[in-house]
């Protein structure tokens, strides 16, 4: 690891100001991903702006929405009584991620910026367009068991690794960021991007901008929601496929529904067509299977990950079934 400078920010504003002065500076919060990347020489900032002292840890339950500070720890949000009551989907997704030790350090803002776990991204002797633009994609034609089946491009088939973000995508969250030009709000579905020709960019966030909070609008999904994560071992493994399913039921009728998937794309993948199909229908095994088929219609495998096409369908139907039966 090369030598770097670390300074402590006293306010969001001063954090943004001190970062913008440096060509190669980064914010650091929990450090659970950034420090790994620095140790592996994948990223080598000259300066770190430590934002842990900022007052961004609160979870506020306001009228019509809940606002979660960017520095709230994953474990704190997951175990928060009111989050569990109002947004169990988010709590379940958080608890499914990483390990207890990592969740104790990782923050909500940092989790959104977690970089892909694609092996070619992590192994610096391998080609990877995301790590070194124009160096090629190792996963295409290589080992791609973890890779995307939706929205990939010729330059990148990596997947977004977060569980939390899948739930936030399903819950129509909104991200608040602060930058040199002031603050702005970004719809969660637009926050992460598809790789296209510039896979080095994971999100639409400007490198000078700081995430300050994420808000979740009030909803009626608390009773019937489920986060299903399929992985190679029971704990401490990234999702091969995950499904966030949330149903607003009136008797057997589906008033409203949200479906999002993890482990399948460069971003949390909302299944809007399947949602449209389900709305207004009655809960049944057949309807859930049809929705799953519809959701996976456009999916494309790359060889090793072909199993995700079947697994994806089965997981969607299973998540909906579990959510409906709660």
């Amino acid at each position: 690891m090369k030598n770097f400078q670390i300074i402590k920010a006293l306010s969001a504003n001063s954090a943004v100001t001190s970062l913008s002065k440096e060509a190669d500076a980064k914010f650091i919060a929990g450090g659970t991903n950034l420090v790994d990347l620095m140790k592996k020489n994948i990223t080598a900032p000259d300066k770190l702006v430590d934002i842990n002292g900022l007052d961004l840890k609160k979870i506020e339950f306001l009228k019509g929405k809940t606002v979660i500070g960017a520095l709230a720890k994953n474990s704190d949000v997951a175990s928060d009584k009111e989050i569990k009551e109002h947004f169990p989907l988010l709590s379940l997704a958080l608890a499914a991620g990483a390990s207890q030790q990592i969740r104790n350090m990782a923050t909500v803002g940092g989790n959104m910026l977690q970089r892909t776990r694609c092996s070619y991204f992590y192994n610096t002797d391998m080609p990877c367009n995301k790590r070194v633009p124009k160096s090629g994609c190792g996963a295409i034609g290589g080992s791609n068991r973890m890779s995307a089946v939706f929205g990939a491009s010729e330059s990148c088939i990596a997947v977004h690794p977060s569980d939390m973000c899948v739930a936030l995508a399903a819950l129509d969250a909104v991200v608040t960021v602060e930058g040199p030009k002031g603050s702005r709000k970004i719809d969660f579905k637009d926050f992460h991007r598809l790789p296209g020709n510039t896979p080095e960019k994971d999100t639409v966030l400007d490198p000078k901008e700081l995430i300050t909070s994420v808000e979740i609008p009030e909803n009626n999904f608390a009773k019937n929601s489920h986060y299903l994560k399929i992985r190679d071992r029971t704990s401490y493994a990234f999702a091969l496929v995950s499904v966030a399913a949330a149903l607003d039921l009136k008797g057997k009728k589906i008033n409203d529904v949200r479906l999002a998937m993890g482990g399948v794309a460069h971003k949390p993948w909302r299944l809007t067509e399947a949602e449209k199909f389900l709305k207004g229908k009655e809960v049944s095994e057949t309807v859930f299977k049809q929705a799953a088929d519809l959701a996976m219609k456009e999916a494309v495998g790359y060889g090793d990950n072909n199993f995700k096409l079947t697994l994806g369908k089965n997981a969607i139907a299973e998540a909906l079934t579990i959510a409906a039966s709660k």
């Binding site: 690891m1 090369k2 030598n3 020489n41 776990r117 092996s119 070619y120 992590y122 192994n123 002797d125 391998m126 190792g138 034609g141 290589g142 080992s143 068991r145 399929i230 190679d232 071992r233 029971t234 704990s235 401490y236 493994a237 990234f238 091969l240 494309v300 495998g301 072909n306 199993f307 096409l309 079947t310 697994l311 089965n314 997981a315 139907a317 299973e318």
Partner: protein
């Protein structure tokens, strides 16, 4: 059960409190820090290597490459192929024979500066075409050029083909890595021409010999300290290039050098379980009597060293069969040399043999245990010898009872628990009982403590605890008063820790030395007037006193005995080895693993609802550490069965999952209920205690037990490990 068999792990407290000192933790004045920079290609030559930036970086003391290395004296006569493979002769020349092969050693005054400087080294290569895919290098397949490498035949060659019911299948296991928690590490220093190493070794004496050869010095001049190991699983059975590198660096600088491999380097530089393709041909009569068995293995080795293991061996004796053929072939590819990984070849072999046994039982429509019992081997047909002891049937019974075998239905998918398909499976493991000559010094001190000394290591199985239990048992000294000194050169010579032979070798030596010591105490006591006219048989040594058997009032304490004879201590050093009688018998340990799985076929999820491991290991010396070993070995087998695989991208010849996030081993939550059970019956032949060995067989047979249970649940036969979920759910066509 002896009163010492339930003692606690004697080094447990030191290990969990951090008081145990591992190799790289030794406080060494003036130590400097080193690391290795690896090749980025798998095969070729180094065209140029730019070390300037690194040399000029702050704190850097030296950068050593093939261009400036002072070659150790032993590099000249590279005769011994095992210890003198090219890469052990680190920095010998510009050739690259595997990815991540060390090309430079960077030494600096601090760890951070060393790391940074290493990142500045850039090499250019003349690439040659590499081959890391065994399946594409089969034209290079050949026998190992030793007696062990020969084919084995008994009866008709490939006689299985003539049977009424025939099974022929291929079984594949991937490359797996040992990767103990404690990284490979060393502190190397020189005193004149005599090196001292604090290193991760499973054999102090073996390391002394290898280092001696490389540097052209006598093994006695090499000091090795490897007192505690944070696991090794076989990777400490070889002396590796990193150890030579640290010694070269230390010699050049005249300073102690500390070198700890990165986790990534643990996947590329210190051995692995080789990728192996096996073929089983199994033939039986319609009634289920096995008439022929052929077991073939084709396994990877490196381009510069031959490596072979006992993959096909158990097929020669595990079941009663007149016609047996085994063949072993190696394929050299451009990856570093394998090294025995726990269970070693037997674990690989059992996956093929015990899966095939299950498959043939299905062909015969028989219960797999009934099928095995029908073919029970009453004697060792390979060596034509009787078994010393064999309680395999007790292992079957114990496991069936605990797992609830009566709930199993032979028809796949016939048992359900809610949405889950239930499957039961079992697999048999076995491993030979070996014993090598071992010296132990036993000392009684005036304060009543018993000191036991041997250079053997304890990589985690509980060797120190075993020595304590036996020493306390024989001498009557309380186990709390036994002091173990081990894992260091200079102590009486112990064996390398491997092949489940430690208790048989070291335990016997402790037993013998302690018996001689007790005799010495008694002989001394008999000279005392208290025991006038008594014979050795008339007295006993109990709780630090020599006491008359007839009249317990007649006694003399050790303290008075020492005082009377002006002694500080009484000691015996003795070498023990197997007797001739043992050669007349075939001595094997057995394990049988039973697994109950719950499978969700839609999601491919396999839950290990219940795992039972039963073993016949002769006498159990220490209940707790033996159970610990069995639990751990079984978990290793579960990793082998369900998740472990080192993935290589053959286009580059590089591993892609060289970290613990991507190379999966089981977590606690993967195993819902686990039990172990020992028959615990003394072997009359093996050694004075009647033990047979445990560490290896604890893992052997688990992977096929899982595969067989998965078949019983789903009707899917997985013949290539690991059994990941994509092999269980149906794969969509694209």
């Amino acid at each position: 059960m002896s009163k010492t068999s339930n003692i606690n792990r004697v080094d447990g407290f030191a290990k969990v409190t951090g008081a145990a000192t591992y190799s790289a933790e030794y406080k060494t004045a003036g130590v400097v820090y080193a690391c290795l920079v690896g090749s980025t290609i798998a095969k070729g030559r180094i065209k140029s290597i730019d070390t300037k930036k690194a040399e000029w970086a702050p704190g850097v003391l030296s950068v050593i490459t093939h261009l400036n290395v002072d070659k150790p004296a032993g590099y000249k006569d590279a005769k011994d192929p095992h210890n003198f493979g090219q890469p052990l002769q680190i920095f010998k020349d510009d050739s690259i024979v595997y990815y991540d092969q060390p090309i430079a050693l960077v030494i600096a005054d601090t760890f951070e500066r060393m790391q940074y400087a290493a990142s500045l080294i850039k090499a250019e290569y003349i690439k040659e075409e590499h081959q890391t895919d065994l399946n594409k290098a089969k034209d290079k397949e050949r026998k190992v050029d030793t007696k062990k490498g020969d084919d084995y035949h008994r009866g008709v060659v490939d006689g299985y083909k003539n049977a009424a019911i025939v099974l022929e299948e291929d079984y594949t296991i991937p490359t797996e890595v040992h990767n103990p928690m404690e990284l490979a590490n060393i502190i190397a220093k020189w005193d004149g021409n005599k090196p001292t190493l604090y290193t991760k070794s499973q054999g102090v004496e073996g390391t002394r010999r290898s280092i001696g050869k490389v540097f052209g010095i006598a093994p006695e001049d090499v000091s090795v300290n490897s007192e505690y190991l944070g696991g090794a699983f076989g990777m400490g059975l070889h002396t590796w290039p990193y150890e030579i590198a640290a010694l070269i660096g230390s010699k050049k600088l005249g300073k102690p050098v500390k070198l700890v491999l990165h986790r990534e380097q643990m996947f590329t530089n210190v051995g692995y379980r080789p990728y192996t393709i096996q073929k089983i041909g199994l033939g039986a009569t319609k009634e289920g009597k096995i008439v022929g068995l052929t077991h073939e293995a084709v396994a990877q080795t490196s381009s510069y060293e031959d490596f072979m293991e006992g993959t096909v061996n158990m097929s020669r004796f595990l079941y009663n069969c007149e016609n047996v053929t085994t063949r072993y072939r190696i394929v050299p590819i451009d990856i570093c040399t394998p090294i025995w990984m726990r269970g070693p070849g037997e674990a690989t072999g059992s996956f093929a043999l015990e899966s095939a046994m299950d498959e043939l039982a299905y062909k015969l429509n028989m219960d797999p245990i009934e099928f095995r019992k029908l073919n029970y081997a009453e004697k060792d047909q390979e060596q034509n010898k009787p078994w010393s002891s064999k309680y395999l049937l007790e292992c079957y019974e114990g496991g069936m009872e605990r797992i609830g075998w009566e709930n199993r239905k032979n028809e796949p998918g016939a048992v359900r628990e809610g949405e889950w398909l239930v499957g039961y499976g079992m697999g048999t493991g076995t491993f030979g009982c070996y014993r090598s000559p071992t010296s132990v010094k036993a000392k009684l001190l005036a304060n009543g403590n018993l000191v036991l000394q041997c250079s053997v290591n304890d990589m985690g199985p509980g060797t120190a605890t075993m020595m304590t239990a036996i020493g306390a048992e024989v001498t009557g000294v309380s186990s709390d008063n036994v002091i173990i000194e081990m894992g260091k050169s200079g102590l009486p010579k112990g064996p390398t820790q491997g092949g489940s032979a430690t208790t048989s070798s070291v335990g016997s030596a402790v037993n013998d030395s302690c018996q001689l010591l007790v005799k010495k105490v008694i002989d001394l006591a008999l000279l005392n007037p208290v025991f006038k006219n008594s014979k050795a048989a008339d007295v006993s040594f109990v709780d630090g006193n020599v006491i008359s058997n007839k009249d317990t009032a007649k006694r003399i304490s050790l303290v008075s005995l020492f005082e009377a004879n002006k002694l500080q201590e009484l000691e015996v050093e003795n070498q023990s080895k197997a007797d001739e009688e043992a050669k007349k018998y075939s001595i094997y340990s057995y394990s049988v693993h039973f697994v109950k799985v719950l499978v969700n076929p839609k999601l491919g999820k396999i839950r290990l609802a219940h795992v039972v491991s039963c073993a016949d290991i002769g006498t159990v010396i220490s209940q707790k550490t033996s159970a610990g070993q069995m639990f751990g070995g079984a978990v290793g087998g579960i990793g082998m069965g369900l998740m472990e695989v080192l993935e290589i991208d053959h286009r580059f010849g590089r591993p892609i999952n060289n970290n613990f996030a991507d190379y999966h081993v089981p977590v606690n939550a993967d195993i819902e209920k686990q039990e172990v059970f020992f028959v615990n019956k003394k072997d009359p032949i093996s050694n004075p205690m009647g033990t047979k060995g445990l560490g290896e067989t604890a893992l052997v047979g688990m992977a096929p037990a899982i595969a067989n249970a998965v078949f019983n649940a789903t009707g899917k036969r997985v013949r290539d490990l690991p059994i990941t979920l994509d092999k269980i759910i149906e794969t969509a066509k694209v």
